[in-house]
Symmetry: D2
Subunit: 357 residues, 4 copies
């Protein structure tokens, strides 16, 4: 009798912990349940291109500490076609799924990837299981995604470094971190890096309020400040713009960090410098905690395969590994909440969040 078989792919932006999760899924499935994993290359694209191979335990040995994903990734759109492309992509996926005799497709990805998995299940009836990976930590249904812990660590180290220059030069140092929609990364790294001002997409900022916080520090003899800005942060005025107008407005201006630095200089007269951390936040060896979270989640996903708990995403709920219905996950973003403990803590130690508390 043939072994139970499942497919596995990674899609969307890469992040630390993907390989650790792949390893845990494949090893657990093999050793505990005698199932076989088929790895698709470059996300959903690998299904469409029939680009796959069997992932033996041997192939995932030694990848725990390796950044990125051994399966490669892409941002393939499976419900949209380029002009001239007449393929029925969901149909092809169903075809390949059947050809290979898969019982389930396990996808590791962010909001988009998990949403696609959910829609595939609805559209062509295949079984899916999702795992939440993103340094943005903005997937609904889980308290943490893997990749986030490493990104916070990397961003914190960068803020630590910038601190000494701010101090030595008596300057305002602005550091822009990733986070278009949700400000988790800026908030966590801002708190752990000791940022004096933290600006998030969720809380449109009043530059006068920021200036006041910076000036207050200067009056206390601290003539430098660290300002942590999520790339999606907007001023109150910007946030009130009509959507298409805002898009146009932003396209003609440099990124959030630059806009904030310029505005601070105008409002305080103090010299400001900007750092955009960029892709460094997303790459490299996963830290210990992402390896652990990925290993727990990957091992749990294999259990779900065994128990045939389909249509769900592995999740951290009340601090424990569990799962959540993909219907709840799809098409939503988890935002920083006013009563999140980290936000309360940031405020209570005197961090400026861009508006009067």
């Amino acid at each position: 009798m043939r072994k139970k078989r499942f497919g596995i792919l990674t899609a969307g932006g890469d992040c630390p912990g993907l390989n650790a999760a792949i390893r845990a899924i494949v090893k657990t499935a093999h050793q505990q349940y005698d199932m076989e994993a088929i790895g698709f290359q470059h996300g959903y694209k690998g299904i469409l291109d029939r680009d796959y191979s069997v992932l033996t335990p041997d192939k995932v040995s030694g990848i725990l500490t390796v950044g990125g994903t051994i399966l490669g990734t892409s941002r393939e759109k499976i419900f949209k076609n380029e002009p001239g492309d007449e393929r029925d992509k969901p149909g092809i996926i169903r075809e390949v799924y059947d050809e290979l005799g898969l019982e389930c497709l396990v996808v590791l990805g962010g909001n988009g990837t998990n949403k696609k998995a959910y829609l595939l299940q609805e559209a062509v009836g295949i079984n899916v299981i999702g795992l939440p990976k993103t340094i943005d930590n903005d997937i609904v249904g889980t308290e943490q995604c893997f990749g986030f812990s490493s990104a916070v660590t990397i961003a914190t180290e960068a803020i630590d470094r910038i601190h000494t220059t701010a101090h030595s030069h008596n300057r305002i140092m602005v550091i822009e971190l990733m986070g278009h929609h949700a400000g988790w990364l800026a908030l966590y790294a801002g708190v752990s890096g000791g940022g004096d001002v933290i600006l998030l997409p969720e809380i449109p900022y009043d530059i006068q309020c920021v200036a006041k916080a910076i000036n207050k520090r200067a009056q206390q003899g601290k003539e430098f400040s660290i300002v942590v800005v999520a790339e999606g942060a907007l001023s109150i005025r910007e946030s009130k713009m009509e959507k298409s107008k805002l898009k146009q407005y932003l396209s003609r201006r440099p990124s959030a960090g630059y806009r904030v630095a310029r505005a601070i200089e105008r409002a305080t007269g103090l010299e400001s410098r900007i750092t955009v951390l960029g892709y460094v936040q997303r790459g490299g060896t996963p830290n210990a905690w992402d390896r652990i979270l990925s290993t727990k989640m990957g091992s749990y996903a294999a259990e779900m395969l065994f128990r045939e708990e389909y249509g769900r995403m592995v999740a951290l709920i009340d601090g424990k590994i569990d799962s959540v219905d993909l219907a709840i996950v799809a098409d939503k973003i988890r935002y920083v909440d006013e009563d999140d403990r980290i936000l309360i803590a940031a405020r209570s130690i005197g961090t400026c969040l861009g508006v009067e508390a």
Copy 2:
């Protein structure tokens, strides 16, 4: 009218995050609630010696990233006296508490420190609040203690380094980590470092089982193995010894790592090398996640002060910051549990835990 005043001290072994917690308590208390902090030097000893000073927000500025504790620490016994010392220590503590007009004593420490706080409250009626710090992560009532995250990170980096030597030399590398009673550190670092064998105080090991796991790897062409050992790990035979006999037995032998390495050599004939990581696990800059946990917990402790929630310890419960009655915490140890997800995950990916699964 005088400000509300509280005392603060750190006791037991130092660990990363103490200063971050002190900073969050003092800043929040000052800024949110206009309370004043009195810092005692070197733990409970500082109360007995009347060695203290006011902790202004300025004094805790810039300490977020600094390892150790600015208050110093000691292992002062407050319910026991050396011969010739006739002091009524709890009485003196009550005296100083009253002299300074304290409303509460906030203690940052491990099992011993929190137990002493509880006993003081019972014995002399002072108000206390505890915070859980220990790299052992073995305090009952909280899912995580600060210091643990940094220790896991440090130990993981050490295992990563040892991996390459094991591989290049085809050797068994044994690494001994801290953890006399509970194996959390060895278990977490073992999983994140990809340890092939992990031996904990909670699970007495069968050396034949360990040898089998190592030999199985050798048969698969992996002629090296990483063995992670908590310092309190015992073989099945050792664990069955009568307590005083065991103590004598252990006193005549080197530490757990050495005993395991020797036993592996005898059982497999393979060359084994030992590393005892030691104090490196406990010192230095807290990692991002300990800074965050400490800041959340410290800020919460200040809220408890304001709400006069005494006799409790700040805790992580169901992934959220909360508090727990010190009566529940005192005099117990939180052990690794058979159905802990990390243990299940370790087993499911094929890690040997010293006995047949």
Copy 3:
């Protein structure tokens, strides 16, 4: 009899190792030669403002590992005045020097700072000793400056991280590092980070040559490449522009990394992404090697004070600590040389340096 006294200041951009050097100078001067150090705040500005204090050994204790400079820094122009400022700045410096009874002024800085020291000596006859600090490593007369080793380490870690994203996404990742005039940092970090293309200010690049190297890799199945660009790198065409025209041209365009990324996309059709590492390169704890170089150089500077070897800068010559006449150092830049071993090594392992070898 009064102790022999000298002044000390740090000027220009801050960098790792400044505090380690200050510590070594002050400790050696005090302990070996019983001399007293006067520390000026914020570079030359501290002399003009009479902002100084005695640096006792105690004040420099514990600063070895601290980034930035405890003396602060500035870019004060001492041979130029703002409109309305009629001060004779060199005259004031001479005045303060005499008032304080200094025997020498020790300056820690880059090209500009050491040049000013030389000109001060020529203009007002004070004794000076220079120490070479800059992450650009471009001071003439020394084989290495402190700060450089840390910057190479930081930049290498960033490249390591970016590598995994490049690999997972099959993308061209461009990383822009500091270095306006000299490309040492980009070259060293490029080699240690395994950059496939390295573009330096000293070697104007031919984008077709870069594209060829990238395409060749793609043909070998490596569909990603890492391109390391110094911020002062120019294309051949740009490098031939008349100076004022080039300035205008550059002012209307984003930085070197962006220009290179755009040009690569046009020439290869491959998706390119850019990271500008920025101030992270310059801050934070000095690495072990900058601490060592700073300690050696600082201790040597104190010996020079004792031997009254004035008008010279501490330097690394033939791998040994020595000194060089400031007349040789002033007003020059040390460029990457065609027969530098690191350049030869980079070429010989197949790294593209922007032009046909």
Copy 4:
């Protein structure tokens, strides 16, 4: 016509930078000179066992950052046989060398490995080139060996961590580092980690002198001290023992760090704690500077192959890559010298080196 062919092996203890050097040799030889590399597995053992394969540029791609050695290593004795083994090992090596049509054997190793290469050349007339790798940095003829820079960095980070515990607990922390014969690692890491006492094999220590330094610090209010000990450090009394007696004496006692900690406790009455860093010092990703040194040295070795400069070891001489006759290298150890600048600097800032200065 067949390509020019050479053999390559790594022997002795592994260390960071071996793979970077292998990569540079193979890539340069292939791309610049069209030569072919044969890699032997596990050092000289791989020649005796005819365990080898062609090292194509592809096989060394991506190994720059990988710790250990892809060729494996061993401590095979080629001029000595176990009882019952009658093989003429040098003869076999000559045989394999001829069979494969090698023009030269390139060995990467420490004192022993380079000595064996020299003796092989003398004994059976094969051509050899050596490269100096060792974290001990004790090979005669070169100012630096690769592996050393990473080891100093790792040991420095450990000392940094231990510092905070020493400070928080007012304790003497003793850290034992590798270095049986030469104390380079302890000396460099001791200086960069800010060790208060540094004990080397080259300078037998007087424990009264050490105690005096520690007590002096305590009088200045610094009730903690960091003591860095090379594993080969001896007290004056121990160093005067007759060799065989010393061996016996040491075999009955724990390592140098333990002996020093015990002696300090006896002499000062202060609580001392010991850390033995062990194998962590030798493994893991090479730091930026070892990657650079290995790349320079590897590329230079390939040039030497081309120029047929045999019988020599690549070396750093006067800060530049060069080579030295293996006859000079063989059978010697490079010790820390009294007039080495790092030793002078350590003394001049007040570090105790175990004897009165």
